[in-house]
Symmetry: C2
Subunit: 226 residues, 2 copies
């Protein structure tokens, strides 16, 4: 992924004033495919609501089908109750790709890809869409897990509130590449560069109540986010 200049990016759809990236415009990217790629790779998201005038930010899981971002949870949670009322949310996902280590303290930075989505949640009542959304959320975390699992019962589905947020009003911000130290610091004998970072899986730990012969499923073998 290359760093974009503002002049290069295609805007799909036109960003609203709110989603337009205000600072460091060269880091703003709005290409629909790039936005969905970040949404799909980010393991979790942080959902912001306004609760009685106060900002509240809660981490959760998400899934995507087409232009719909799905979130789910207990109908009793504060977050889900606000979303059930259709109150506006801001959903932000951030993937950290590396530490940008500069010669000067001032120019330290990070390589990252983030998406910010604004929208008013719509409760998903239709049983077919709801099942597709729950499968998307499950498979977002572990691709293929929905079909490997004991299916969700009607009672379990009723105990889960699912909402959809349209990806219409979304923007992305991306930084890639080496540090950008000042020309005046070029000759300093201080190491600079990038420390790549990634979310990496270690060996799976079987549950204590596994029956004999339950084999590692394909969703878990070789798990990674990319």
């Amino acid at each position: 992924m290359s760093r974009h200049d503002a002049a290069e990016v295609e805007t799909v759809p036109a960003p609203s004033e709110r989603t337009e990236v205000r600072r460091l415009p060269e880091r703003g990217v709005y290409d629909r495919d790039e936005i969905t790629a970040i949404v799909d790779e980010a393991l979790i998201c942080h959902v912001g609501i306004v609760h009685e005038g106060h900002p509240v930010v809660i981490p959760t899981n998400h899934g995507r089908v087409g232009d719909a971002l799905y979130l789910h949870g207990s109908p009793a949670s504060r977050l889900l109750r606000a979303m059930k009322r259709g109150e506006e949310v801001c959903v932000t996902m951030t993937i950290v790709d590396g530490l940008v280590v500069a010669k000067s303290a001032f120019h330290n930075s990070m390589n990252y890809r983030s998406v910010v989505v604004f929208g008013e949640p719509r409760v998903v009542d239709d049983p077919v869409e709801k099942e597709r959304a729950l499968a998307a959320i499950t498979d977002h975390v572990l691709p293929g897990r929905w079909d490997e699992s004991r299916p969700m019962t009607d009672a379990e589905a009723r105990a889960t509130l699912v909402v959809a947020v349209a990806l219409d009003e979304a923007s992305a911000k991306v930084r890639t590449g080496p540090p950008e130290d000042d020309e005046a610091d070029r000759e300093l004998g201080i190491w600079a560069g990038v420390v790549p970072l990634a979310l990496v899986a270690a060996a799976p730990v079987p549950a204590p109540d596994l029956v004999a012969g339950a084999e590692l499923p394909s969703s878990v073998i070789g798990y990674g986010r990319r």
Copy 2:
């Protein structure tokens, strides 16, 4: 880290109504040391503000000195301008420790540690505190990097707005351990368990403008978040 029952946790300080964990109270932990450990290990945070009535969530870096959580940025950014006005923020950090893979789709979960902080930012004007805060933010990402770097100039420090948010109104939520499938699913021959996840560094990539002999610094060698 073990899973806490609500009855076991020590509450330091008493959580306000806002920070009290509402759902799944057995996952709520308020111990001060546990909160600061999560703040210190989390590489980034997500800051929520209310901007003209709308929720806005932006990822950024943080640092900590004692009970002060420090955030920084360009004085021109929307986020920093709101913080300069002292508008309330919600700062949330989330560390994902693993995927909790259940036999049933309904019981899939994650092992994670998260902290939610509410507060009204205070602009850090005092030059001594400001330098300490900027060093803390730098060293939060790469311990020891502040002293390895070309020091920040007065002009650079002036170009950076630093705010402090007290960690007074903070709560943590932690999930650990295996999946908790229903007793009725015990005999199913479906694999279940935990896939541990961690943010892992790959080999450092030197900047293209390094001078000969600039050696890998100790902040970068063997980098990890724990």
